[in-house]
Amino acid sequence: MAAETPRETEVEAPVLIRARDVAKLYRLGDQEVRALDGVSFDIHEGEMVAIMGPSGSGKSTMMNLIGALDQPTDGTLEIAGKDIAHMSSDALAELRNRTIGFVFQQFNLLPRTSALAQVMLPLAYATPKPADPRQRAAERLAQVGLANRMDHHPRQLSGGQQQRVAIARALVNNPKLILADEPTGALDTRTSEEIMRLFTELNGAGITVVLVTHEPEVAAYARRTILFRDGRIVEDRRQPGIIAATATGIVVEAAAS
C-alpha cells in the first residue's frame, strides 16, 4: 500500500475547510479563556478526518466552528469557500442547511415523530424548496438501511437505528460535509462498527466526513487525525492504507497498536 497515492489525490481535491490562525475567546466573568489559539489547517473534499483531544482541548469549539454554529473571534475560517467570520446568522443557517450534515452523540431526534418526518426536517428550511421532499427522505432512509422503518418513532427504534435516522437526516440535503460529534458515544461496540462502516461508505461516495471523538477506535476509521491540546493542534497525522482495512474492520487493532 503506497502511502503517497492517497495524499496526492487529497492535494489535488479542492479545499473544503480552510482555517488560518483561528482563535476563539470566551469571557468567563472578567477572565478571558482562549479556547482556540492560532489554529490553521486545510481539509480537502473527500477526506475523512478525526478531530481528537482531551476535554478542554478546544476540539468541541473547533467542531462548532466547522459546523458554522459559531464564529471565530480572530483569523479566517472558510467553509466551501465562504469565510464564516463575517456572515449573518441567516447566512450561517443557510450554509448549515446546504453544506453541512450533523450527526450527534445523542441522535437529537424529535420525540414522537416518524423517521420519515425526521429526515424531511432539513428540507423544510431549504431554499429553493425540493420538489418531492417525501421521496427524497425515503430514499435516504433506504440508503441507511431503514426502508421498512419509515413510520417508526424514535422509541420504536434501537440506538443504532436512531443514529441511522440521524445520518439519513444529515444526508437528505446532499451536503458536502458530514460533521459527526461522538457519533458512537451512545452505542455498543458492534453497532458502533456498523455506524462507522456507514460513514466510511459515505466517504467513499465522495462526502467529506469530520469525526469529533475521544475514542481511538473511532478515529482509526479516518485517514487523518488532528489532535488538539490547549487550544492548539499538536499533531496532524495521516494514516496510510486505512481505507482497505476499514472494510474488513480489522484495522481497529492495527491502528490502536
Binding site: 462548532n64 459546523g67 454554529l69 459559531d70 446568522s89 441567516d90 443557517a93 443557510e94 448549515r96 442547511n97 446546504r98 450533523f102 450527534f104 437529537n108 424529535l110 420525540p111 414522537r112 415523530t113 418526518a117 426536517l121 432539513p122 423544510a124 428550511y125 431549504a126 424548496k129 437526516r169 440535503n173
Partner: protein, 410 residues
C-alpha cells in the same frame, strides 16, 4: 418554511402534548364561549327592544296627569286632576298632526263565566285604540263610537282570555261577568305574545272607556268623564318635539297652570324611553366586551406561560432545527404559529360551546337570542390576536437561543 407547513408542524407539536394543549387553551375557550353567549343574549334583547319601538310606532306621545302634592308630600302617581273627554276633544282639534288618540283606564279584575273565574287586566279605551296601537281584530269586531258613547257592555278580548273562555273555538257572542256586570264578547284581538318585560300582552280585555268609567272605577266627582292616560298617535311627518311643545302649551292653558309653575302633567315620547333602555343595553354590551377582553388576557397569559415552558422543554429541538438550517425567523414563526393555532383551536371550540349554550338558553329559558356572524368572526380574530400578542415573547426567546447551548441542553 411555508405557512401551511408551519401550521402542520404546530398541530403535530400540540398533538404530542394533547392534554396540556387543551388545558392551556381552556381560558381562551371559556372566554370566547361566554362572549358568544353574552353577546347573543344581549343583541337578542336589543333586537327585541327595536321590535318594540317599531310596534309602538315612532310617532306616539303619552300624556298623563301629574302627581299632586298634598302639603309638600308626594301623593302618588296620577293623583293630580285627571284628564277628561274635553281634553281629548281639544287635543284632537288644536294639536296639528294628530291621527288618533285613546285614553286608557285599566284595572285588574276577575272575569267570571259559569263557575269559572280568573284575574285579568280590564281596560277601557276609545274606539281609536286599534289605530293607535296598530292592533287588528282577528275575529269579530272592535266596538264602535256609538257603543262607546252609550257605554255598551261589550268586550274585545286578547287571545289568552279567548282561550280561557272558548278553548280553541270562538268566544264571540259569549257572555261573561266582569265585576258583576254581564258583558258580551264581540271580538278577539290578534295575538301579540310576550312584551319585553315578559308580560303576556294577550291576557287582557278591552271595553269602551265610557263603560269602564261607570263599571270599573269609582266616579270622580271633579272630572266625571275622566279618560286615564292618553296615547296620541301623530302622522309620519309631524316633528314629535314640536308636537310635544304644542301639547304642553295646550294642557298648561287647559289645566290653568300659572306661568313659572311646574306642569301638573307628563308628556312622554315612549319610543325615546325604549331607546334610552336600548342605550343601557349597549352599556351592558360594552361591559360584556370588557369582561371578554379580560378573559382573553387571562387566557393569553396562560398561553404565554405554557409556551415559555414549551420553549424551555424543547430547547434541544430548537437547537437541532437551527443546526439543520432553521433561521431565527423560522423558529420565531414556528412558535408564534403554534401559539396562534392553540388560541384559534380554543376559539373555535369556544365558539362551538357558545353557540350550543346560546341555543340551549334560547330553548329552555325562552329568551330572545341573536348570534351575529360578525361576533363569531370577531371572537376568532381576537383569539388569533391573543396568540400573536402572548406568543411573541416565548417565540422571541426561542429564536434568540444560541444553537450551541440549545443543542447541549438536557
Amino acid at each position: 418554511m411555508r405557512l401551511l407547513e408551519s401550521f402542520r408542524t404546530a398541530l403535530r407539536a400540540l398533538r404530542t402534548n394533547l392534554l396540556r394543549s387543551i388545558l392551556t387553551t381552556l381560558g381562551i375557550m371559556i372566554g370566547v364561549a361566554s362572549v358568544i353567549v353574552m353577546v347573543a343574549v344581549g343583541s337578542g334583547a336589543r333586537n327585541e327592544v327595536e321590535k318594540r319601538i317599531a310596534a309602538l310606532g315612532t310617532s306616539q306621545l303619552q300624556l298623563r296627569p301629574g302627581s299632586s302634592r298634598v302639603g309638600g308630600r308626594f301623593a302618588g302617581a296620577e293623583t293630580n286632576l285627571p284628564l277628561s273627554e274635553g281634553d281629548v276633544a281639544a287635543i284632537r282639534e288644536k294639536v296639528p298632526g294628530v291621527v288618533a288618540l285613546t285614553g286608557t283606564i285599566s284595572r285588574a279584575a276577575p272575569i267570571v263565566r259559569g263557575n269559572q273565574n280568573w284575574l285579568t287586566t280590564v281596560a277601557g279605551v276609545h274606539p281609536d285604540f286599534t289605530v293607535v296601537r296598530d292592533w287588528e281584530v282577528s275575529d269579530g269586531r272592535f266596538f264602535s263610537s256609538l257603543e262607546n258613547r252609550s257605554a255598551a257592555k261589550v268586550a274585545v278580548v286578547g287571545v289568552t282570555v279567548a282561550k280561557q273562555i272558548a278553548g280553541d273555538g270562538s268566544p264571540v257572542g259569549e257572555m261573561v261577568r266582569i265585576l258583576n256586570s254581564p258583558f258580551r264578547i264581540i271580538g278577539v284581538l290578534e295575538a301579540k305574545g310576550q312584551s319585553g318585560f315578559g308580560r303576556d300582552q294577550d291576557d287582557v280585555v278591552y271595553v269602551p272607556i265610557a263603560t269602564a268609567r261607570s263599571h270599573l272605577v269609582t266616579r270622580n266627582t271633579l272630572v266625571p268623564d275622566q279618560v286615564g292616560a292618553l296615547s296620541i298617535k301623530f302622522d309620519g311627518e309631524t316633528d314629535l318635539g314640536e308636537a310635544k311643545g304644542e301639547l304642553e302649551t295646550l294642557m298648561r292653558a287647559r289645566r290653568r297652570v300659572q306661568p313659572g309653575r311646574d306642569d301638573n302633567f307628563f308628556v312622554r315620547d315612549l319610543a325615546e324611553l325604549v331607546r334610552t333602555r336600548a342605550s343601557t343595553t349597549q352599556t351592558l354590551g360594552l361591559l360584556l366586551g370588557a369582561t371578554a377582553a379580560i378573559s382573553l388576557i387571562v387566557g393569553g397569559i396562560g398561553i404565554m406561560n405554557i409556551m415559555l415552558v414549551s420553549v424551555t422543554e424543547r430547547t434541544r429541538e430548537i437547537g437541532l432545527r437551527m443546526a439543520v438550517g432553521g433561521r431565527r425567523r423560522d423558529i420565531l414563526a414556528q412558535f408564534l404559529v403554534e401559539a396562534v393555532v392553540l388560541c384559534l383551536i380554543g376559539g373555535l371550540i369556544g365558539v362551538t360551546i357558545g353557540v350550543l349554550a346560546t341555543v340551549a338558553i334560547a330553548q329552555s329559558a325562552n329568551w330572545p337570542v341573536l348570534i351575529a356572524p360578525e361576533i363569531v368572526a370577531v371572537a376568532l380574530a381576537a383569539s388569533a390576536l391573543t396568540g400573536i400578542v402572548f406568543g411573541f415573547v416565548p417565540a422571541r426567546r426561542a429564536a434568540h437561543l444560541n444553537p450551541i447551548d440549545a443543542l447541549r441542553s438536557e
